[in-house]
């Protein structure tokens, strides 16, 4: 009993009651802690904790008065003053009067929103902390000192101390930028509205309408690219999967000798950094590259002719899929070897007795078994292929150029088009729309699969 009691005192640094309970059951001081942060702590002589809360509140109010409120106003309008060019008679030059920078308005607005969100978290914590102290007083327990809070960071609140830095990093470099880009999809931030010279504004869902409406330049590019992206992802995934598995079977069959050597030979190609192998492939299949040189030497094509491996739309698509085989097959070989060896031998023996040949065995036993086990991996690969920036960007950079496309080539995927739109052409709004569409495609796929995998359903299965 004594031990249990001691544990209660020790562990109730973080109270289990939520904000609602704390606010409802708290006395006036506790309730006031939601307005004057740390009041509950200060009244009970928890000076350090109370002062920390109070100073956060003061800092936030100072920030809002000097900067924050204006940035929220700018966030709703995205700036009103356009940069002006005024002729300075005295100096005989044009001078620029800086206007509002819509991009910065949007960015600062997002940051202020996040800071406000953090402030609300502090408000909740302040009330909870005040309520915690109030309860302790009522129950006649010793009031926690600052050192107790610090200690709790090593035990009860260890997750807070360990997650603080990573979450801040992800917040700064992933979450805020993403929110920013998602918002841009609803503005007119394209190459004609570039800050600081021009303003851009909120346009609602116009960009999405544009992307899907029949006949617009964007729609004329979007649908063919979406079709090629899906076709590419399906073909690339299936060919690598089947051929990689066949290779694994070939290497692991009983009669094959030097298994380790063969495996090493194929793994070598994925050990090479991907951009090296892809740039090499680009050189090999160049109009004047070694493959064409070889074909000329053996006389298959004329001395001045060349096969447009990467410069003709259809050829390029086929070449890309073959080069992707070179990269992907060893990878599948590596990942499926272990699973292949787990297929029960009896199945094969039974098939042999029934007189099934290798072909039938593969399609009736191996493939169904593998599909059953590796479906999640297969979907991950599929998702990876939809987002396969490297292969396309390094091999063809989306080329050959297509005149009827909006800044895209015939082999561009959605992601490489997104890259071109944002980095090269500064059409940030259309780029953001594509990013959101890719997200929706991937999220749907992943939801369908992750929900069905055992590891998602039962994390403790390994214990």
């Amino acid at each position: 009993m004594a031990g249990k009691k001691r544990k209660v005192t020790k562990s109730s640094v973080s109270i289990k009651d939520g904000f609602g309970t704390a606010f409802r059951l708290g006395n006036t001081t506790t309730k006031l802690s939601g307005i004057i942060f740390g009041l509950g702590n200060l009244v009970h002589k928890q000076m350090v904790v109370g002062l920390i809360f109070l100073s956060v509140e003061i800092a936030y109010i100072y920030y809002m008065i000097t900067f924050g409120i204006q940035s929220i106003i700018d966030f709703t309008t995205l700036g009103t003053r356009v940069q002006e060019e005024v002729f300075n008679e005295a100096k005989q030059i044009y001078e620029y009067i800086p206007g509002d920078n819509s991009m910065l308005c949007l960015l600062y607005g997002v940051i202020t929103l996040f800071i406000t969100f953090g402030f609300i978290l502090f408000l909740v914590t302040s009330v909870k902390s005040a309520y915690n102290t109030q309860r302790r007083k009522e129950l006649g327990k010793p009031i926690l000192k600052f050192i107790d809070y610090l200690r709790s960071l090593k035990h009860d609140n260890l997750h807070k101390s360990l997650l603080f830095l990573p979450i801040m990093g992800v917040l700064c470099f992933t979450v805020i930028p993403l929110v920013f880009m998602i918002l841009i999809a609803f503005t007119s931030f394209d190459k004609d509205h570039q800050p600081p010279g021009n303003l851009f504004e909120w346009v609602g869902v116009d960009n999405f309408v544009n992307m899907f409406s029949r006949g617009s330049a964007l729609a004329n590019t979007f649908w063919p690219i979406l079709r090629w992206t899906l076709l590419w992802a399906v073909v690339a995934t299936i060919t690598c999967y089947i051929l990689g598995m066949l290779l694994a079977i070939l290497i692991n069959r009983k009669g094959t000798r030097f298994k380790g050597f063969w495996r090493f030979l194929f793994v070598l190609s994925i050990a090479m950094p991907q951009f090296v192998s892809l740039l090499t492939m680009r050189a090999i299949f160049n109009t004047n590259g070694p493959v064409n040189a070889l074909l000329r030497t053996i006389g298959l094509i004329g001395i001045t002719e060349s096969i447009p491996f990467l410069t003709d739309a259809t050829f390029a698509k086929i070449t890309i899929i073959f080069i992707n085989l070179w990269i992907g097959v060893p990878f599948t070989m590596l990942t499926t070897t272990g699973i292949l060896q787990n297929i029960p031998k009896e199945l094969y023996e039974a098939a042999k007795v029934d007189g099934a040949n290798a072909f039938v065995t593969f399609f009736k036993i191996t493939l169904p078994y593998m599909l059953f086990v590796t479906t999640p991996t297969l979907i991950t690969t599929f998702v990876g292929n939809i987002n396969n920036f490297n292969v396309i960007f390094l091999l063809t950079a989306g080329g050959p150029e297509a005149i009827d496309y909006y800044y895209a080539g015939k082999t561009d995927l959605l992601v490489t088009w997104l890259y071109k739109l944002t980095i090269t052409n500064k059409d940030y709004n259309s780029g953001a729309v594509i990013g959101i569409i890719v997200f929706i495609i991937l999220a749907t796929l992943s939801l369908l699969t992750y929900r069905h995998t055992g590891s998602y359903k039962d994390e403790e299965a390994l214990q």
Binding site: V170, P273, P330, F389, T453
Partner: protein, 291 residues
Amino acid sequence: MKKKTAKVFKTRQFITNSLSHISLSILGFIWILPIFFVLLTSFREEGGTYKSYIFPKGYTLNNYKELFSQTGSLIFTKWFQNTLAVAICTCLLSAFFVLCVAYVMSRLRFKMRKKLLNIAMILGMFPGFMAMIAVYYILKGFGLLEVGTLKLVALVMVYSAGSALLFYIAKGFFDTIPKSVDEAAYIDGATKWDVFTKISIPLSKPIIVLTLLTSFMGPWVDYIFAKVILGQDRAYYTVAIGLWSMLEPEFIEYHYTQFYAGCVIISIPIAIVFLFTQRYYVEGVSGAVKG
């Protein structure tokens, strides 16, 4: 009669074996060919780009020497140092982040856990560089893109912050350490921090090594983020963008063979690391890190 069937069976087996060896050899040849091409071109004596023949007319080590002689626009040593510095800082920071997040998500139970796991999964589904342009402006806002050295610091921050989301493999590893070990320590009065530093971390050496190695490799092969953040200043390029720039139209005539020499130099360590870590890699991909 029986002997004859056995003989037929044996011949048939011989034929299938030979066939499979022959096809393996042909495939192996195709797979190894590009690697040979890289090696051959890196030793090629004649400069310039594409030749009408496959085998070089002469062999030389000059391409490698020129790579390190720092002439004109080709400052490979500087790029190498940049990348090495970025890689070392990134791998230490990333490993720290990944371990913290993986441990918390695997061993500790708190209110927001499931929500954070779902958020991490959702964040992973956005195309990575969709947010890049905003990252660029945020870094600019921090004043990190003014000086070249600070750009490299910015690169380290971006790489390691991104790595915090890649905790799944390490989490899978922590999941396999029996909980009873922790509980025994708690009974002895240890705090969770003690368990983390004195029990879990020493037990997870393999996963630490793997995290260190994979995040060390990242900066050597990434060029999308590096290109956007580092901009035009060649002195602060990393190896990947440096090599990439050697194939740009204005340099390709001069640096084509050196490009391959550079590829060989950075491929060797990366290949060695990959060959050593492929087991974990495979397990991570097929989601089967079991103790």
